[in-house]
């Protein structure tokens, strides 16, 4: 079990995560991660937090999102948890299928999986844990 270094609790508003996200990315940059890794981590965090706020908490201002991260020179671990009912990540449509290409939504989880080295959800489906190794 990794000891996670920092937890930030964010209100269910899209703009609220900016400061926490910037602090996380500054720490990642300080640890010497490549531009490609920085892009991947920024993308994954944005997708996870956005999903948590919009789909998990359904923009309910009484609910919060927890962003926990631990950044080391070897790897970055990020855990995003919402207060929603959760979902089954196995039941998502493939956004890269021809019939889904013109749909404007539904790419978040696929992008997290494509850009991070490890992505897993808890049983309830309201928490995602992502790891990126430094390259």
């Amino acid at each position: 079990m990794v000891a996670l270094a920092r937890t930030v609790v964010i209100p269910s508003k899209l703009g609220a995560a900016r400061e926490a996200e910037n602090e996380l990315l500054e720490e990642v940059a300080r640890c010497g991660y490549s531009e490609t890794c920085l892009f991947a981590i920024k993308l994954a965090v944005e997708e996870a937090v956005n999903n948590a706020i919009k789909h998990g908490n359904k923009l309910d201002p009484r609910k919060t999102v927890s962003l926990t991260y631990d950044v080391s020179p070897e790897r970055t671990v990020i855990v995003v948890t919402d207060e929603g009912e959760g979902f089954d990540p196995r039941c998502l449509a493939d956004p890269t299928a021809d019939e889904n290409l013109e749909k404007p939504t539904g790419r978040g989880v696929m992008l997290m999986r494509a850009y991070m080295d490890e992505v897993s959800f808890n049983d309830k489906g309201n928490q995602v844990r992502m790891t990126k190794r430094r390259r």
Partner: protein, 125 residues
Amino acid sequence: MSTGSDDQLSTRVEHVGGAAVVRLRGSAGMREADLLGRELDQLMARPGKLLLLDMTELEFICSAGLGVLIRARGELRARGGRMMLAGLRPLVARLLETTRLTRLFEIYPTVDAALERLEQAGADD
């Protein structure tokens, strides 16, 4: 020329020939996607049918930003218009490949290449 911006994303619109060229600068993340959507909506409310997005200075885009582009493309095509993307940075280009949106969008290496293609198409008409 018109401009729009927040602290992460700025847009500047110029009209070149019959095309509206939108120069995007910065980051089109979750929080900026709404601004981008509003800018494109305003442009599409005008009579022109050609929209060229200059992404040379766009450093980042997430699924919400991509969703705005997909929606704009669909609305434009529905009324006989055309949307082109140009000057994608390598990381943004890779994102479009990962999502297979390279199959959806008309993509050019540079704005000049896109404008040249439009000129050729005009000459062919």
